[in-house]
């Protein structure tokens, strides 16, 4: 079970979306698939066609930079970060 932490910028876009939730998945991509199932449209806010993570969306699995195919099996912490950028 992955313990997923989401950025504050997603919360107002999807009513009811918590900042922290547990997700059963094998990869980061599957985590996002699970979220998409409950909150349609969320994948587009994190991923570009390809699919690949958006340029300013960073994902860390157990504090290591991750990609969509990074495994999240077992007790894993997944942090989704809206990178510090912009002005």
């Amino acid at each position: 079970m992955a313990e997923v932490h989401l950025p504050s910028t997603l919360e107002p876009l999807f009513p009811g979306l918590p900042r922290r939730l547990d997700v059963q998945a094998q990869t980061v991509g599957e985590v996002i698939d699970q979220l998409e199932h409950t909150w349609p449209g969320l994948r587009d806010r994190l991923c570009e066609p390809g699919p690949t993570l958006r340029h300013h969306i960073h994902v860390y699995v157990n504090r290591e930079r991750a990609r969509l195919d990074t495994p999240v099996a077992g007790e894993t912490r997944v942090d989704v970060i809206a990178a510090i950028s912009g002005g």
């Binding site: 950025p7 997603l10 876009l13 449209g41 587009d44 958006r54 969306i57 950028s85």
Partner: protein, 358 residues
């Protein structure tokens, strides 16, 4: 009670300015979570408002409010190119709505359509095969701003008619709802070498007279132009204006010969010439021009006005409105003779549209 609504798209979200009398205005916003809003429009058919917005973090989406900003949804479902084709969407630039069809223009140049109130989208056209289309996907050939399709306009005379501006390339018309396109740039000026005879023109803004569908005006990168034959040929009408450059333009709702434009410094500053804010009006289809600056700052106003940032309503005495790159909104209810500042301290303004609501 009827109200005038100004829809203000800014670099940090959407706002509304609303008024019962076009004198006292109430500001609401920001909406769209502070995403940069490139264009915001009202659908008189459904009463909904649409905003084309793009977040640096979360990508592009079309936002929709059915109740003038009280509630919002957003979707980019279907606004994507086939990833194997190598084209990517960097921005949703412009919107148009008519008869249950919502269109959004994007970069790389393309037009997506929704027929379910913006919930889902599908590709309508990329104008593939048009002269210039072989290179317009290349970012190195694109003008700054990277708007792709910078404007869309439904043809008020023909349900299958549509006009599209490809930024830095030119104006195109379709009469069979995007099955085929025709460049409509004959007579335009270009001060640079062009690879194709029919394109290579920098059309900034196209407007059409509501009382004469053959009469259109355009602000071009180099000059103001007018057509009297629905875009088949263009005639330059720049003489008498302080510069040939600008973005915003508006047509009078009741008089085919009256038209408004905001000339800007043609250099890279692209602000009011000499810091003197003014709207210019012609009442004779461009034969002569009047400077309208009463109530506007006449010095030290180094502000810009972008292509979608001026609007005109359709009242008997039409109201004119424009928003600036420094967050002011100005209004006139006497055809531009005098102006009043009705908002300040907004984020940089990208678009101003006006709607009359109950």
């Amino acid at each position: 009670m009827p109200r005038t609504q100004l829809l203000i798209g800014t670099r940090k979200g959407a706002f509304f300015l609303e008024s019962d009398d076009r004198k006292t205005w109430e500001l609401r916003g920001p909406f769209c979570e502070g995403w940069p809003v490139y264009h915001m429009i009202h659908d008189p058919g459904s009463g909904a408002v649409y905003a084309a917005a793009a977040s640096e973090w979360h990508g592009q989406a079309v936002w929709r409010s059915p109740d003038l900003g009280e509630t919002w949804t957003h979707s980019s479902d279907g606004i994507a190119y086939d990833s194997e084709a190598g084209r990517k969407i960097s921005k949703v630039s412009t919107l148009a709505v008519s008869d249950g069809r919502v269109l959004v223009g994007v970069e790389a140049p393309g037009i997506f359509e929704s027929r379910d109130d913006g919930q889902t989208w599908s590709l309508l056209s990329t104008l593939a095969g048009q002269p210039g289309s072989d290179t317009w996907d290349d970012p190195s050939t694109q003008p700054p701003g990277h708007l792709g399709i910078s404007a869309l306009m439904f043809d008020s005379e023909d349900a299958d008619g549509l006009w599209a501006i490809v930024q830095g390339v030119g104006l195109f018309e379709t009469t069979d709802y995007a099955q085929s396109w025709t460049p409509r740039n004959r007579g335009l000026r270009a001060d640079w070498p062009r690879e194709h005879e029919e394109v290579g023109f920098c059309v900034h803004k196209l407007v059409r007279s509501p009382v004469d569908a053959d009469r259109m005006y355009q602000q071009n990168h180099v000059g103001m132009h007018r057509t009297d034959d629905a875009g088949h040929t263009w005639t330059e009408i720049t003489e008498g204006l302080p510069t040939e450059f600008g973005f915003a333009a508006a047509t009078h709702p009741h008089d085919r010969d009256t038209f408004y434009v905001i000339p800007l410094d043609p250099g890279h500053g692209r602000t009011m010439p000499d810091g003197h804010a003014a709207v210019w009006r012609t009442r004779d289809a461009g034969s002569s021009w009047q400077c309208l600056d009463s109530g506007l700052p006449k010095q030290d106003a180094h502000v810009g006005v972008l292509r979608e940032a001026m609007a005109i309503d359709s009242e008997d005495a039409p109201g004119l409105y424009f928003g600036t790159s420094t967050g002011q909104v100005f209004a006139s209810t006497d055809e531009g003779d005098t102006w009043t500042q009705i908002a300040d301290y907004l984020p940089a303004i990208s678009s101003v549209e006006v709607a009359r609501t109950e």
